[in-house]
């Protein structure tokens, strides 16, 4: 879960696509149809750049640089929203004053502990994301092959919510039961 600006992405993609389509079809038109080329050359003003004065050229240059900067900005916005810690409690009044931060790893260990008696879980990974109000927990669980995902997911969710309760926080919890290379080899396969 990240703060990737999905709508902006789509709008930019659409606009660039439209621009490319228009320019491309114009070029196809000019090189294939003399009549279109004739009409276009009247409209497009053949000497556009020769007639460009200093002010116009500067404006165009600044515009190009602005596009460049905007796009670098958009790139930097992709995949943002991960947090380096899950909960942070500032104790300003305490003596001495301090900050308590609980990392994702701590939650991960707690969940591993809770799942210790299950042998059908291959790996657990926890990350937190910046939510609208409170940080969210995203727990990726990889079970062994053919494990029923529903009951396992419920159990992980219950453990995570217990951990939340002990930390005194609330916030969205997302459990993702996924498959991967390591889940392919079940115990039964290796016994033979």
């Amino acid at each position: 879960m990240t703060l990737t600006p999905r709508l902006t992405n789509r709008v930019v993609l659409f606009l660039v696509g439209l621009l490319l389509l228009l320019t491309g079809s114009h070029w196809v038109g000019v090189s294939l149809f003399p009549a279109y080329a004739e009409a276009a050359s009247h409209i497009l003003h053949l000497r556009f750049f020769e007639n460009l004065d200093t002010l116009g050229a500067t404006a165009l240059g600044v515009g190009m640089l602005a596009v460049l900067v905007l796009f670098v900005l958009l790139l930097s916005l992709q995949g943002r929203g991960k947090l380096s810690y899950y909960s942070r409690i500032v104790q300003a009044e305490a003596q001495p004053p301090g900050v308590v931060e609980v990392s994702d790893q701590a939650i991960e260990h707690a969940i591993r502990q809770g799942l210790a008696d299950r042998s059908d879980v291959v790996s657990v990974a926890v990350t937190s994301w910046k939510g609208a109000e409170e940080p969210g927990l995203r727990i990726r669980v990889q079970p062994r092959k053919a494990v029923a995902p529903g009951p396992l997911g419920h159990e992980v969710l219950r453990i995570a919510q217990q951990v939340q309760q002990r930390l005194g926080v609330s916030g969205p919890v997302l459990v993702h039961v996924l498959s991967g290379a390591r889940s392919r080899f079940g115990r039964e396969d290796r016994l033979l």
Partner: protein, 194 residues
Amino acid sequence: MAAGVKERILRRELTGSRSVWVACCTLLTGLAAGYVALELALSALNTPPLWRSLDKWWLLLSEPLLSLERPAVLVTGLICAVLGVVFIIAALSVTRRPRLSIELDDEQGMLIVDYQVVAAALARVARTAAGVGQGQVWVSVGADQALVQVRPTSGIPVDTERVGQALRDELQRNGLAEQLEVKVEISTNGVVGQ
């Protein structure tokens, strides 16, 4: 948690974003914009152009009939137009990630499962219900249907209804019964010697 937040999170999890596309498209247009700015700066400083001056470019691209570069313009135009259409389609289409969301009666909790995980669980159940060995059951899970194909052992019939019921029970147990429709197909040719 405010209403709709959960739906938003789930929607983000179940559908893909366009970040890779945007990275490609910003790289492309960024290079073009940077080049134009560079040529502008060079011509403003009265230094020779890096490749071609912008007015030469403009002339070439608005009236290529006069030039020998007509095929090049045609090909460039075609590539640009196709790329434009591809970008527009990418901007408007929705891609589903291969995951299912299990409905939970929980204000803060969400549970999503990969197709493959569900398929593996269903394959185990189908194998037990049909009494066949490994490799005789093939399961494919999609957004709204689970297709189970069983190749029975020769001479030992498989009860389709029993397998279907076992699969539906398993989906019920996982909270997926309302989303997935089970379809069982028993193959007509059997497997020898299991």
